[in-house]
Symmetry: C2
Subunit: 320 residues, 2 copies
DNA sequence: TTGTAAGCGTTATCAA
DNA sequence: TTGATAACGCTTACAA
């Protein structure tokens, strides 16, 4: 592998000059620039990233704290991130936490000890204080609605999305509405919960603790929900479900048990995953790919802290 | 950030000694070792990976050529790889190709120019010759059945899996069997095709070009298959489908169109994805997580070229 | 068993 | 507009 010295020798200039053309710095005559470019071509020169990183004190590595990669919500997010990272010539370091706060802390420590240039937290497990304590070591961006002076935030209007979803169900005549959520804690989950409560309040509708199903992530969880639903004395007539995977599980299980959708039980999903279309599920589409890209650009724009929100769109199909 | 020099000074030893304890080298007295460990603790010392990489001439980066990450087959594979990479203290560089041979070539060039230490090709798009030409630059491992002196191979017995799947369908009384596949080219696809043809031959059964559906990856593709199936004059009575996603699409579309499964059309999927259980699809389970891990260990064991094959298991449910 | 010092391939400071 | 040269933090002959 040819190095910068070889190029300099071949082009009859100093390494500094080579470095200058490499980095597009001024003060290089066209003549020399061309000589350098020729030399690089001839010697098949490629920069040694490690040397650059060492010299600059940067890693070009971006940590990504993510609970799982095999869930559509997160894999879409990851897709967006990886695309943008490639574009910006950074590589992503995957830190799968499974919502383990300790794993997440390890990622924060990586930032502290300069193992990575920045950290993206797709879903947070530690308290806000803990995370904020690490901002002095590098840019942190979270995927939740937080206005903070020190950590950037890229999120979706979960409150509004839930509110609109609820309105849609109410318009269709429902009053007794339950909902399914991944976990009870977490900013996004709480905003959704808030949206749920607030909407019910506007129509002075009933609210039952047992209509709220948590730990809903997968198709299997959807099946479990139907099981729990059937054992209820007072059943909701509609379900707002924060994942199409879960909604799919619910719909398929309803079919098995002869529960008519939407007549007996209406279902509104989230994400607009292909499975939703296949099962004719109404759903709320989220721009996860875009969010993923923005997370990366925000992390890379380390100087400013950025606050961004994305919208959503309701997709009406046959399950409501 | 404390560096190795600081540690050496604090512990009253030379940097070499620190480096020795860091790397578990012999010839360090317990006394000094402890002093160094104390110093590292006290100063919150962390190694600078870039310096190590530069010094050793290694990147600790492993390229992963993968068509998509948002398909269960590949996301399971990726999960296994990322787990093992973490374990071995390497990071994965994702190169999503969407089966674009040029993108894959870029990855091979990264290997040539030492941007990565090794390359894993989860699904190959370039010709074998092209890939083999790059082995001199670093270890390459492919996820397909190839015995080669220079590139490692980790694969699943696709031929046997297909053969066994076919036997299962035949035992259930089927003679007219079609199949769905992602793409026609590719070693794995051809092995499957071979298994299909060979089994049909053993029972002297019919074989129809129009019973073979290619470009099948997603739920949508499954729906498309059912459409094509219905327009057939002479219809197969069973379908061997190389992805549970596609099988799910088929089954759901059959339901919409009142095609009885398995009476009218039997379906056997691949992967044993959760969706298969939910839809009561018989399927063939592949140890993708294990394969992913092995891909990484093989890539890291750069000295030897390794040839490994994994089995599979038939899971009987209600769709056959 | 320990330490000195020469790389590894860049960038950046300073002087020319 | 150019070029020496000193970092960057670590590993590894080689010497002691």
């Amino acid at each position: 592998m040819a190095n910068i010295k070889d190029v300099a020798r071949y082009a009859n200039v100093s390494v500094t000059t080579v470095s200058r053309v490499l980095n597009g710095h001024p003060y290089v005559t066209n003549e020399k620039r061309e000589a350098v470019e020729e030399a690089m071509e001839a010697l098949h020169y490629r920069q040694n990233m490690n040397a650059i990183h060492l010299s600059k004190g940067k890693t070009r590595l971006l940590g990504v704290v993510i609970p799982f990669v095999d869930h559509p919500y997160f894999s879409l997010l990851l897709n967006g991130m990886s695309k943008e990272a490639l574009h910006q010539e950074h590589t992503l370091v995957l830190i799968q936490t499974n919502y383990d706060a300790m794993k997440e802390l390890e990622a924060l420590e990586m930032l502290k000890y300069k193992q990575i240039d920045g950290l993206i937290i797709a879903s947070r497990s530690n308290t806000w204080d803990v995370v904020e304590g690490y901002t002095e070591f590098g840019p942190i961006v979270v995927c939740e609605d937080r206005s903070s002076d020190v950590v950037s935030s890229v999120s979706i209007r979960h409150y509004d999305a839930f509110y609109e979803g609820m309105q849609h169900l109410i318009e269709k005549g429902h009053q007794k509405i339950g909902f399914c959520i991944a976990r009870k804690t977490g900013t996004n989950s709480q905003l959704r919960y808030q949206g749920y409560r607030d909407t019910l309040h506007t129509i002075q509708a009933d609210y039952k603790e047992e209509w709220i199903f948590s730990n809903c992530l997968s198709i299997e969880d959807g099946e479990r929900v139907v099981d729990a639903y059937q054992s209820l004395d007072d059943k909701p007539t509609a379900l707002l479900v924060t994942s199409d995977q879960v909604a799919a599980g619910i719909r398929m299980e309803c079919q098995k048990r002869n529960i008519a959708v939407p007549e007996e039980l209406a279902i509104l999903g989230f994400d607009n995953h292909p499975i939703a279309r296949a099962l004719d599920l109404s759903t709320i589409e989220l721009p996860l790919h875009e969010v993923g890209r923005k997370l990366v650009t925000s992390a890379l724009d380390g100087n400013r802290t950025i606050y961004t929100q994305y919208g959503f769109s309701l997709i009406e199909r046959g399950s409501v």
